[in-house]
């Protein structure tokens, strides 16, 4: 969704061309991210000749303030949906930054790893909006990611396993 997409594109802005191909996954209810991503990739293609990327949509795991019990159901549905997608893409690296969409994708990747099919490195970057508390996705993925990056020192103190690089977006 909006803010998350803007942030993640900024994170990608300095990555070298070795981070290719890029597979973007976002919620089916998201109307604006596709345009932002295409615009970013178009600009990138001006500098790098071999720019490859794909776009995929998965069902939204959780709406704003959706109740706990219904969120579990919708997230399970999203996981079922993202399993075959993750299996198809077999990513080496998953970079995510907080929307509900990232939980099913990361869980799928973890399952694939457990089954010995593909082990992805999971890097989570908490949003710059999160100064003192983690988002729900963050609280979950703090335990399941390989690298958990926070952008404010208070969070680094509360979550000692996290990585603090300062503000990166």
């Amino acid at each position: 969704t909006g803010g998350h997409t803007t942030e993640i594109l900024r994170l990608l802005s300095c990555l070298s061309e070795s981070y290719s191909p890029r597979h973007y996954i976002f919620a089916d209810s998201d109307k604006m991210s596709e345009a932002k991503i295409r615009s970013f990739e178009q600009k990138r293609a001006e500098t790098f000749s071999n720019s490859q990327f794909t776009l995929d949509r998965i069902p939204r795991s959780r709406g704003v303030r959706q109740s706990w019990t219904s969120s579990v159901v919708t997230t399970l549905y999203s996981i079922l949906y993202s399993l075959p997608l993750t299996y198809k893409l077999k990513p080496d690296l998953i970079l995510c930054n907080g929307p509900g969409t990232c939980v099913p994708v990361c869980i799928s990747a973890l399952l694939l790893g457990l089954l010995g099919m593909k082990r992805a490195i999971i890097v989570y970057v908490e949003s710059i909006c999160r100064v003192e508390t983690l988002s729900l996705s963050g609280k979950i993925l703090y335990y399941f990611s390989d690298y958990f990056i926070v952008q404010w020192p208070d969070l680094k103190e509360k979550y000692p396993k996290s990585v603090y690089l300062g503000r990166i977006v």
Partner: protein, 104 residues
């Protein structure tokens, strides 16, 4: 106007911005180097939106008020006390990632 695709034009021409505490609004304004007064409506907002506004205020980058104190704030404000907001550094992220992935 109600909604625009981008406020970038308006932001560039502004001398002062008065905004709600949404992260996007705050950050875009600060990145343009414009002075910002954040108006908090505690009834409408959930706590997490306040975190960033509070921190930005604590670090001296924005002025802060609620709907009823806005006029008073505008009358007594001293914008020269606001500190510039340095941009984020995605290069640091790129360096970190290169180490993680093994591209040196």
């Amino acid at each position: 106007f109600r909604f625009k695709d981008s406020l970038a034009e308006d932001l560039r021409r502004a001398d002062l911005v008065i905004s709600h505490a949404g992260a996007g609004s705050c950050l875009e304004t600060l990145e343009e180097g414009k002075p910002l007064i954040v108006v908090i409506n505690e009834k409408l907002m959930n706590n997490h939106q306040l975190e960033l506004a509070k921190r930005l205020h604590r670090d001296g980058h924005v002025l802060y008020c609620n709907c009823s104190t806005l006029v008073e704030t505008l009358q007594s404000m001293d914008l020269s006390t606001l500190k510039p907001f340095p941009p984020g550094q995605p290069e640091k992220f790129a360096l970190f990632m290169d180490k993680v992935v093994g591209f040196q």
